[in-house]
Amino acid sequence: MTDANLTDSLRDRVQTAAGQGTALVICGSGSKAFLTGTAADETVDMTRHAGIVHYAPQELVLTVRAGTHLRDVEALLAEHGQMLAFEPPHYGPQATVGGTLAAGLSGPRRASAGAARDFVLGLRILNGRGEVLRFGGETIKNVAGYDVSRLMVGAFGTLGVLLDASFKVLPKPAQECTRVQDAPDAGAALKRLRETVLKPWPLSASAWLDGRLYLRLSGAAPAVAQAARALGGETLADDATFWRDLREQQFAFFTDPRPLWRLAVAPAATLLPETLVAPADRLMEWDGALRWVHSTAPAATLFAAAQARGGHATLWRNAPAGTPRRLQLPPALATLHQRLKAAFDPHGILNRGAFHPEP
């Protein structure tokens, strides 16, 4: 595993760029580059700024440099029976911690355990002036100053270059078991999910695809056994592979060449009508709160449909040329975003255009 602290050279790099107005694109392995469009003069390679800074299993705290490979972090945690509880998607074998946080993506455990931002305790960053700043820390509770660390998660590097991140890690569940039930109708599956999430069971993930409902239970062995009996259905063999392939979007559903939309909605929101999405073109995660659809409906229709369901839509993969991938924010929020961007990156040099279109 690489172990190098390149803070000084990265700081010099950003300071020089700030002075010259050079647009930088901050790059890990590029595994999530498909999510952004960037315009840059220069690329900053983060992968050599890597290594474990501090790991205290009994404190449930891990601090790593941004260029560290996610797989190395997960292997280290596994040696101590621990994990990143937001089950981050890698989208590539070289995925880095920095890219994971910049994209702010969370995996199947999201609905029960929390999101990437929920497990970030602190960050060291370079702002767009090339100042090294530290926010948060290595403690689980910390309310001194604004919560800038969590603001950085999912900001796609537009507010700062992530240097080191401190995570709250959790013990791996003693037992996991996935039950599968036939649920040909998506609406009926959604109804069953609603009933299930009101039970005090250790549900750690759910998915509906190809007419089947998958429910994962995680926790102490007696709890998992008790809930599995109550749930019914069949036990899925090799369920770790199933959830990994779902998380990494390896199923045929995801490799389909048609436009793929991600809808984050209220978990109980009604399904999109079949006039917009054919039954076979739906996949649900997060107890119904995350819905993937293939649809050729106009972008505006899908944006509106997601909004009406309490959330938002993103054109995830296979965007046809000229189709907007995200809805513009309402004016007051857009203004706040622009001002925040300027507060962290006054010269506008960091990952220009990687996020919402900037002024």
Binding site: E59, A115, R134, T139, K141, V143, A144, P202, A332, A343
Partner: protein, 496 residues
């Protein structure tokens, strides 16, 4: 402490004009300006500091709140938002040239959404009222600050409040979905969503814990959780604080995440036992309460493991709650530790530092030395699971010098927390109380970055100005008095 916000007085004519304007905007019962009526609003839970605001606005609706903000913004008058006034850091301490905006009248639970396991509530709703309202459905709202009977959800958002269950269930920031927020000029924005993520930057995280400096929260959508079927608590006593601390680490090391894990030292235990007679092991040096929740079989299994861990670390006494009454009794002393200490000392001052748990023996040892040095006694209660210490410094404000010694001791303890890798506040916020200590935790560049964030939201700086984030000048003045490792903090600033 010693951090009052000095503000220039407002000309009487401007005050008259402002009050007249607000009278025109609000119903008669929604504006207080008579001296007598203002008195109850002079302070929040940090009652050592008092100041009288120009007026108190008590709007009933978002529209009325918006009207107050617009008028104050136009007139350049500061606005301090207040929930129930239970905050311990002076976040709602009024400004003498500003309007105190009480959200206490907006206290309706607007909707309970069982299917989405969420509730939409007004900011003045009490924390506990949410859990009570959804209890018939087997649900609850997880964050449970000690003041939960009284504190409001709007205040919880502003402070990112915690409680005794944070290790497993998170703080306020982990249990929110959506906020309706009014910006300084009254503009309304929706932050977050009914979905698990929202478009754009994570403003929900930024707003939570921003202590009323970035916006006024006028509606909150919280997540609800199914109530665990079973909860039991282990109480274990130890001959030394070190052994107790080590046992806490072993519980986590065994892969157990308790719902709550609380330590008390001998003075805190003694005070609680005298007050409530809950059967605490007062002869021992430290005790820990470990609560597990979940399905009954899971809890039984966990309890057995926790008991084994405690015995392996040499616990002198281990007891397990056998029923709900016993569980409540075990907790009663801990939950009432503050009033219990209030019985044995005329005054006490609660500190909120957080440390990496492994540093506990060192920090407690150093605290004993500081206690001797300043001649003030300390009782310790400790959210052991998440490293949040609440040392209570016992003092008597009527004895000359005790208040000053207490403040100096408090500041030294906060600096100690920062120096071992912790923070000056785990859950009570900075407010006016810890504003000087902020200079010890953050560099000038970091503080400037905070000010830039504030400026992005509130360019005219009318929302709760002077709180939470110190000016660099303040740090320079303060830093000149407190030299750290031989180095002046914020060296680029002129000294006074």
């Amino acid at each position: 402490m010693n951090a009052l916000v000095e503000r220039p007085p407002l000309a009487p004519e401007r005050r008259r004009r402002l009050i007249a304007t607000l009278r025109g905007l609000l119903p008669a019962d929604a504006l207080l300006s008579a001296d007598e009526a203002l008195r109850p609003y002079e302070c929040d839970g940090l009652s050592a500091y008092r100041s009288r605001p120009l007026a108190v606005a008590l709007p009933h609706s978002i529209a009325e709140t918006q009207a107050v903000l617009r008028a104050c913004h136009a007139a350049g008058i500061p606005v301090v938002a207040r929930g129930s006034g239970t905050g311990l850091s002076g976040g709602a301490y009024p400004l003498s040239d500003g309007v105190l905006l009480s959200l206490a009248r907006m206290k309706s639970i607007l909707s309970i959404d069982l299917e989405n396991r969420s509730a939409r509530v007004q900011p003045g709703v009490r924390n506990l009222a949410i859990s009570e309202a959804v209890a018939p459905y087997g649900l609850y709202y997880a964050p449970d600050p000690s003041s939960q009977i009284a504190c409001s959800i709007g205040g919880n958002v502003a402070e990112n409040s915690g409680g005794v269950h944070c290790l497993k269930y998170g703080l306020t920031t982990h249990n929110l979905l959506k906020l309706e927020v009014l910006l300084a000029d009254g503009e309304r924005v929706t932050i977050g969503a009914d979905a698990l993520d929202a478009a754009g930057y994570d403003l929900l995280a930024l707003m939570t814990g921003s202590e009323g400096l970035l916006g006024v929260v006028v509606e909150v959508t919280v997540k609800l959780l199914p109530k665990p079927e079973s909860a039991r608590v282990v109480m274990a006593a130890f001959d030394s604080v070190e052994a107790c601390g080590a046992a806490v680490g072993d519980v986590i090391g065994a892969g157990i995440i308790p719902a709550g894990m609380e330590m008390m030292d001998k003075p805190a235990m003694g005070a609680a036992e005298d007050f409530l007679h809950c059967g605490y092991p007062v002869g021992s040096e430290a005790m820990v309460l470990v609560e597990l929740d979940g399905l009954p079989e899971e809890v039984e299994d966990g309890i057995r493991r926790v008991e084994a861990v405690m015995r392996a670390r040499g616990a002198t006494d281990v007891r397990v709650s056998r029923n709900e009454a016993e569980r409540a009794n075990f907790w009663a002393g801990r939950k009432n530790a503050f009033p219990a200490v209030g019985r044995i000392s005329p005054d006490y001052y609660c500190i909120d530092g957080t440390i990496p748990r492994g540093q506990l023996p060192h920090v407690l040892g150093r605290m004993r030395e500081l206690s001797t040095h300043y001649r003030q006694r300390i009782a310790n209660v400790f959210h052991a699971g998440d490293g949040n210490l609440h040392p209570l410094i016992l003092y008597d404000a009527n004895q000359p010098g005790e208040m000053e010694r207490t403040e100096a001791l408090a500041l030294d303890i906060l600096k100690l927390c920062v120096d071992v890798g912790g923070t000056i506040t785990g859950e009570h916020g900075v407010g006016i109380e810890k504003i000087n200590a902020m200079c010890h935790q953050f560099t000038s560049a970091e503080i400037e970055q905070f000010h830039a964030v504030k400026h992005a939201f509130d360019p005219a700086e009318t929302l709760n100005p002077g709180k939470a984030i110190p000016t660099l000048h303040r740090c320079a003045e303060f830093g000149a008095l407190h030299v750290h490792h031989g180095q002046l903090p914020h060296p680029e600033l002129p000294r006074f």
